[in-house]
Amino acid sequence: MRKVYNKILSIVGNVISVRAEGVSNEELAEVSTRRGTSLAKVIKIDNDLVSLQVFAGSRGISTDDEVRFLGSPMKVSFSDNMLGRIFNGSGEPRDNGPALNENLIEIAGPSVNPSKRIIPNRMIRTNIPMIDVFNSLVVSQKLPIFSVSGEPYNELLARIALQAEVDMIILGGIGLKFDEYMYFRDELEKGGALSRSIFFMHTASDPVVEGLMVPDLCLAVAEQFALKGKDVLVLLTDMTNFADAMKEIAITMEQVPSNRGYPGDLYTQLASRYEKAVDFEGAGSVTILAATTMPGDDVTHPVPDNTGYITEGQFYLRNGRIEPFGSLSRLKQQVNKDTRDDHRAIMDGMIQLYAQYLETEEKRSMGFRMSDWDKKLLKYGGLFEKEMMDLSVNISLEDSLNNGWDILSQCFNPDETGFRSGLIEKYWPGEKKTKVKKADQEISKEEKKEEKPLEKEETNKDEKTTNKTKSVVKKSKNKKEVSKSSKK
């Protein structure tokens, strides 16, 4: 029998302390109050003085309430019975189903031995051109969606979850609004994915600290399924809420903050979650997509900043679209060489033309006269935004690539696009192949280079337009600053 203590010495923030013996670090306890019981976790021990973080928050706790130590750290059940179920941030049922107590596993377990990892090489198809074509998602990738609140990042997550060819989806909600939670549920149900999904839901109305365990719960379960050979997609929304909950505890514990009140170990804490993404040799995988809202649209805010240092790229969601600039999948080159021979060319070529369009658009808005070339670019930009960037577009990678050629051919002559003649011969739609001749000569050199290692053409072309890209980047930055200062 575990001992029960009923003299709480201090209650500060969501941390309580009691005098107790034989307690182990990170052990779980139950705090019983008149309102019910809550789980609590040992976060510090000083001789017999034990500090616990109370997941349901300290509101309403009386100094003579009972604290019962459970003798082990946080565990979660792991079994197929979890599929289709919804749990709260403490791992208890949130639907009407029974509590699960079989096959308990520890959460936040040890990390994977790096020498047992393999280089990721499987693409996840999402049917979203801005992802599949321009920043391919890869099995075992960890990738955040950076956006300001109000952007449809949850819609995006739900859509990826439904369209991705994965075996299972685990959704972790941290501080999710109730209607967002219902939205996820309905979407997955409509998509017929509910039966292969597990929810760990902490909503905005639940105690803040209870959200702290959600990533660990999701990832521990995901890891087990992955070891059993499943490809698991974990969605975490919103990791900024997670970081804020950590900040709250840190401040309560009087830790010296490092940056805007966040604790010095924010990087380590976030990394130990994101690093659970893995492709196991000979088994399944864990892929993590996380929403990270940027307070004040500021990417240098500690949460997006530390996240960017951890993850393998990021998607910027702005004005309802995935920004082509700034968004990056650091693993895309592992997969986009084996899809279709025009994939990389379309990926680079279309973005470069879009960069030129943005520059033209800038000139247009300043009232400059538009040359013929400018007009072509304007037409192109419009089509690109409508048929590639718009999130409602829902087509396969191959269709997107074909569509890309279509757009190009509607706006340009082949030799204006800078594509290799070999690809133009193969993919340029309709009759417009007339002007290829001249381009041919320049391009025969490039063809030779083609045989050399990958990436080459990527960079080579980049260089042709770097000036332009750069100025675009600069300008858009200026714009941002302007809009920021005008807000003030």
Binding site: N47, N113, E312, E463, N467
Partner: protein, 577 residues
Amino acid sequence: MADKKIGHITAINGNMIEVAFKDSVIQNEVGYVLIGNERLKSEVIKITNNTAYLQVYEITKGLKVGDKVEFTGELLSVTLGPGILSQVYDGLQNPLPALAEAHGFFLPRGVVLDPIDEKKKWHFTPTAKVGDTLYRGSPLGWVPEGIFQHKIMVPFDLNGEYTLVSVVKEGDYDLTETMGVIKDPKGEEIKLTMSFEWPVKIPITAYNKKMVPSEPMVTKVRIVDTFFPVCKGGTYCIPGPFGAGKTVLQQLTSRYADVDIVILAACGERAGEVVETLREFPELSDPKTGRSLMERTIIICNTSSMPVAAREASVYTATTLGEYYRQMGLDVLILADSTSRWAQAMRELSGRLEEIPGEEAFPAYLESRIAEFYERAGYVELPDGSHGSMTIGGTVSPAGGNFEEPVTQATLKVVGAFHGLSRARSDARKFPAIDPIDSWTKYKGIIPAEKVREAHNILRRGDEVHQMMMVVGEEGTSVDDFIYYLKGEYLDTVYLQQNGFDAVDAVSDPERQEFIFNKIHTILYTDFHFEAKPDARQFFNELRQLTLDWNYIQMGADEFVAQEKKIDAHIQAKTKA
């Protein structure tokens, strides 16, 4: 050590524990927390009254007040001896592949394996003779380790003069066998094996003297070797915001740098990045030796999800291994990614010790620790008159990409070269994204400094014109100024930028750099005559394309010469008569 000193845990706070002890405790000695069958390695970091504060190199989940701690009396050490090359270690020199073999997918807690295989036989050739006078670091003989002669040396902590009493004959031996016996002036004999321990936080100094680094360490990255070179035994840092290309730049350097041994310290970064090296290096061959790149590489891997305290130790483990090989007269390069994670590990610990925090909560001793770390680099003269070097390059990951933060600033004070990566350049995909205007070096490179300065002037001038054009537009710029701008852009695109993924362009050896640089230098200082700006732009666009193509052709090939002729012809057409 019959009866071990034992203490008991009195408090637990994250990875720091307080331990009550009776007799004596040594600052920085290693203790093991005993919990079931697990032995959790820890280090004493502070002592007050009868309480020792230890940082635990493992996760502290499940520890209790009252748990036993066994003190060892030894400082945190690594094992030195043949068999370290091509190993993959965690921050405490635990071999990761062996751990995987024994324990599968996950890193078990509290397991310690031999860092070097004790049973492996090495072919030993003695070089010292009985009766020789030996000092710390003097070789008894050597064994072949890959392509190197691995010297079997008198341990570095044996100060004073010794006489060689006996040494084994040439033959195959393992690490447990006695290779020789030496005696001190009092006649006391000491048996030597092929391996010994050394405390990681104490620099190895068994050399005559440190010398000013003067020999360039060629990285084959043009912007580095030509514009911001690093010398063997020197130090440099690569600060940059996330995604700016720090890791890729270090990966390229680890492949192509002209040194004997590369030690990669993956300190608190992504596991996936180490995996790339781990899986690819054994397949890649070192152009210099034709052997697998892995044979000259050691990986110290303490990635971000591995315990934080071991991350703190990992950079010291790396430098100690580096110093050991330096003692053999080899050129060693340490690449640490990222020193900011190491600094953060110190910050976490300092917070738990409730020390008075400095800026951004980093401890007050941050600067001195960073200085001490880089100070371990150096070009040294060894007792036998030969030279060895250890170069240290560290990445820095500044919060918000802002260089005005404690780690970057403290690092800039002590390093010899600064390769600052810029967000603007990486966004524009100008790689390597080293900012050519802000970066600097104190070292001399492979190209005469005067010529480099001249090229740099054009770059700066071009940049000024560019800034001006952003305000007044192209119309308001004179043709002459515009040419400066185009020349600067040209130098940037064809020389500073380099395609790290192209087999030819990625590897620009000194002869090639010198040749191409001279050609470009001449172009930069040629007076061109243009009627108007579009002519100039057209001309430079074509020139740029010709030169880029040139970059992709192997030097010495017929095409290389042909391409050069095309460039010359293009230039001549527009030179002012």
